[in-house]
């Protein structure tokens, strides 16, 4: 398995674990408190460990770069659609309901949704493209 595949798989597992934990904590701590589950995303900081290479090992080549470029393009489209179409739409709708007042707790949600959408779509695209190409 290529290093980029391992990273994508690791990111997907972290994202899924964060989502499951968030859903599990919501009945106990409420929507706002359960967002602490997203702290699991901090684990993504460990991904540089996958870039360690053994002596003489070729880490990345033109196929890997082509896959990453395609995944990034696809991820950009997904994030843009979700972030602009959904998250910012929700933000302006809330502002419409309460003119001039948007709850402070909404702001981290906007970031998490955008970041989460990027992480999941990018990782899923990488894993799919490695199977196809």
């Amino acid at each position: 398995m290529a290093a980029h595949q391992k990273i994508a798989l690791f990111n997907l597992i972290v994202a899924m674990a964060a989502l499951v934990l968030f859903l599990a904590l919501t009945p106990l701590f409420g929507f706002s408190g359960a967002q602490a589950a997203f702290a699991l995303f901090a684990l993504i900081g460990f991904t540089p460990l996958f870039y360690r290479r053994r002596k003489g090992q070729i880490f990345s080549d033109e196929r890997d770069n082509q896959i990453r470029l395609a995944a990034t393009t696809l991820s950009f489209a997904v994030v843009w659609l979700i972030f602009v179409g959904g998250v910012m739409g929700a933000y302006y709708y809330l502002q419409h309901l309460n003119p001039g007042i948007v709850g402070l707790e909404v702001l981290p949600d906007l970031v998490w949704f955008g970041f989460g959408a990027h992480l999941v779509s990018h990782s899923a695209a990488i894993l799919t493209l490695y199977r196809r190409l």
Partner: protein, 69 residues
């Protein structure tokens, strides 16, 4: 209309070269083993530069390794 494809003789040439492993060819061509697997199975079409590197690893002209059909 038939879609053009890039055929290759990598598998045959590897066996003709003392059963060269995919890993050995990958190291000579400067790519990962996964890329050699993808090229060999026809899933991935290499760049011209990589195609030349692979041909060089077999000491053959490029047209004896890759065929455009």
């Amino acid at each position: 209309m038939k879609t053009p494809s890039l055929r290759n003789q990598i598998r045959r040439l590897r066996f003709e070269h003392n059963e060269m492993t995919q890993q050995m060819l990958a190291e000579r061509a400067g790519v990962t083993r996964q890329t050699i697997i993808a090229i060999e199975s026809g899933k991935y079409a290499p760049s011209l530069l990589l195609a030349f590197h692979i041909a060089e690893a077999f000491n053959k002209p490029i047209e004896q390794v890759f065929q455009y059909e």
